[in-house]
C-alpha cells in the first residue's frame, strides 16, 4: 500500500489457475496487461487442445509486448514479476527480462534485495519464506515514507492453484527510531 488515494489496490493477480503476476508502476497499464492475459487464457480454454499457458510462456509473451511497446516509444509503464511452477521471472517497461530465485521492483530492488541475498536459501520452507518476505516489506515500510504497512502475499506451489492473500497489516516496531524524530521545540532538525 502507499499514501496514494487507493490504499489497497490489487497488485498481485492470478492468470489462469497457477500463474501469479505482480506489477508496480502504472496501474491502468497493469489492468490492460491483465485483460490481454485473460484473453489468452480464454483462448486456451476455447481451443481445448490440452495446452495451457504456463508462467514461462506468459513471461515470453510479456517480454515481446513490453519490448515492442518501448520500441514504438509508447511503453506500458510497469515492472512485472511473473511466478509459476518452478519459475520466477521479471519483465520491465523497456523489455528487460531475467529469472532469479528472488526478484524485487521499485524500492525493493535497493532495500529488499540485499536482505534476500543474505537470507535466501534454496531449501527455505514456506513459513520461512513468508517471514523473509514480511521482513523485507517491513523494512520497505520503515524506510519508504510513502508506504503503508498493508501488504499482500501470494503463493503458487507445484500444480496447485495459485492463491493471493487478502491485504493485511504488518506489525511494526518503531522503538529505536526516536533518534530520527525531530525536536518539536526547536527547528525540527536533529
Amino acid at each position: 500500500g502507499s499514501m496514494e488515494k487507493y490504499k489497497a489496490p490489487r497488485r498481485i493477480r492470478t492468470v489462469g489457475d497457477n500463474c501469479l503476476i505482480g506489477a508496480s508502476g502504472e496501474y491502468s497499464d497493469f489492468q490492460s496487461v491483465m485483460d490481454t492475459l485473460e484473453g489468452m487464457v480464454q483462448d486456451d480454454v476455447n481451443y481445448d487442445d490440452g495446452e495451457k499457458s504456463d508462467a514461462k510462456s506468459i513471461h515470453s509473451y510479456l517480454r515481446a509486448v513490453m519490448y515492442q511497446r518501448r520500441s514504438k516509444m509508447n511503453p506500458l509503464w510497469n515492472d512485472i514479476i511473473i511466478a509459476g511452477k518452478d519459475f520466477l521471472g521479471y519483465v520491465d517497461k523497456i523489455g528487460t527480462t531475467y529469472e532469479d530465485s528472488f526478484i524485487a521492483t521499485g524500492f525493493g530492488s535497493y532495500l529488499a534485495i540485499p536482505i534476500l541475498r543474505s537470507k535466501w536459501r534454496p531449501d527455505l520452507t514456506e513459513g520461512e519464506a513468508r517471514a523473509l518476505l514480511e521482513d523485507c516489506l517491513r523494512v520497505l515500510f520503515y524506510r519508504d515514507c510513502r508506504a503503508l504497512n498493508r501488504i499482500q502475499i501470494a503463493k503458487v506451489q507445484g500444480d496447485d492453484d495459485a492463491v493471493v492473500s487478502d491485504p493485511y497489516e504488518l506489525e511494526t516496531n518503531w522503538s529505536g527510531f526516536e533518534a530520527t524524530k525531530g525536536d518539536m521545540d526547536g527547528d525540527g532538525g536533529w
Binding site: 485483460d35 484473453g39 480464454q42 483462448d43 480454454v45 476455447n46 481445448d48
Partner: protein, 254 residues
C-alpha cells in the same frame, strides 16, 4: 436430375417466382445430411450433444470436434459442413472477445446470436459468395439475468431462441422426442442421458459408426463450458441403450 430451380437457383442474389432463394434452401439441405445435433435448456444449465458420424475407422476419436467453447460461458455446436462451421465458431469467438474489449462485459446471449445471424446472413446477399452450409447452435449464460439461453442460426441467417432444438439428419425424430421432455424439471445430469437416448433413437442400423460428443454449461461448473468425459458419455450411451431395449420389449409385448 433436372434442376428443381430451373435457372433461379444459380445465385443467392436471385429470388424464384414463388419467393424462395434456392441457394439458401440448398444450403439448409446440406445441413440436414450431417449428423444430428441437439440442444436442451435445463433447469440448471444447457446441454449440447452432437452425433459425430465416422467416415473411416482410421479416424482419431477426438478429431472432427463439433462442440466448441467460444467464450467464458458460451458454447457452440456446428451441424453441416465442418469447414463452414469452423468459420462461424471463429467469428463467434471474435465477437465475444471484441464485445468484451469494447463494452467491458461479456455479450448477452441474444446479442451474440444476433451478431452471428447477421454474419451468416451477409453471405446470402452477395453473388460472389455462397451461403454457409452450416447451422450453429449457441448455448450461452447470461450473467445479468442469471439464466441460460439457447439459440440456433441456420444458413439463411435466421436466428431463433429455443427451449430445445435439433439439427441434422435426425432432427424430425429428435424434435418429437424433445417435445416429450419436461424441461422445467430436467437437470443437466438427466439431460445428458436423454440426449444420448434421443440420438440413438433417431439412428438407423445402416448408419455409419458414430461418436457422441456432449458438452454442458452447468450451474455446478459456474456455467463454464465443459466437454463431458469419455466415461460420462459411455455411461449415458449404456443407459440409453437399455432404455431403447426396454421400449422395444414393450413394443414386442403389445
Amino acid at each position: 436430375m433436372a434442376s428443381a430451380g430451373a435457372g433461379y437457383d444459380l445465385s443467392p442474389t436471385t429470388f424464384s417466382p414463388d419467393g424462395r432463394i434456392f441457394q439458401v434452401s440448398y444450403a439448409q439441405k446440406s445441413v440436414s445430411t450431417s449428423g444430428t445435433s441437439l440442444g436442451i435448456l435445463c433447469s440448471d444449465g444447457v446441454v449440447l450433444a452432437c452425433e459425430k458420424l465416422k467416415n473411416s475407422k482410421m479416424l482419431l476419436p477426438s478429431s472432427g470436434r463439433r462442440l466448441h467453447s467460444v467464450g467464458a460461458g458460451y458454447a457452440c455446436a456446428v451441424t453441416g459442413f465442418a469447414s463452414d462451421g469452423r468459420q462461424i465458431v471463429n467469428r463467434a469467438r471474435e465477437e465475444v472477445s471484441s464485445y468484451k474489449d469494447t463494452y467491458g462485459i461479456l455479450p448477452p446471449p441474444s446479442v451474440l446470436a444476433d451478431r452471428l445471424g447477421h454474419y451468416v446472413h451477409y453471405f446470402t446477399l452477395h453473388g460472389a459468395l455462397r451461403p454457409f452450409g452450416a447451422t450453429a447452435t449457441v448455448a450461452s449464460y447470461d450473467s445479468d439475468m442469471k439464466e441460460c439461453k439457447l439459440h440456433q442460426i441456420d444458413p439463411s441467417g435466421t436466428c431463433h431462441s429455443y427451449y430445445a432444438c435439433a439439427a441434422g439428419k435426425g432432427r424430425q425424430g429428435a424434435k418429437t422426442e424433445l417435445e416429450k421432455l419436461d424441461l422445467t424439471t430436467l437437470t443437466v445430469e438427466q439431460a445428458i442421458k436423454e440426449a444420448a437416448r434421443i440420438v440413438l433413437t433417431t439412428r438407423d442400423e445402416k448408419d455409419k459408426d458414430m461418436e457422441l460428443e456432449i458438452a454442458t454449461l452447468a450451474e455446478g461448473d459456474k456455467y463454464q463450458f465443459k466437454m463431458c468425459g469419455k466415461e460420462v458419455v459411455s455411461e449415458a450411451l449404456k443407459w440409453a441403450g437399455e432404455q431403447l431395449e426396454e421400449d422395444m420389449e414393450e413394443d414386442d409385448d403389445e
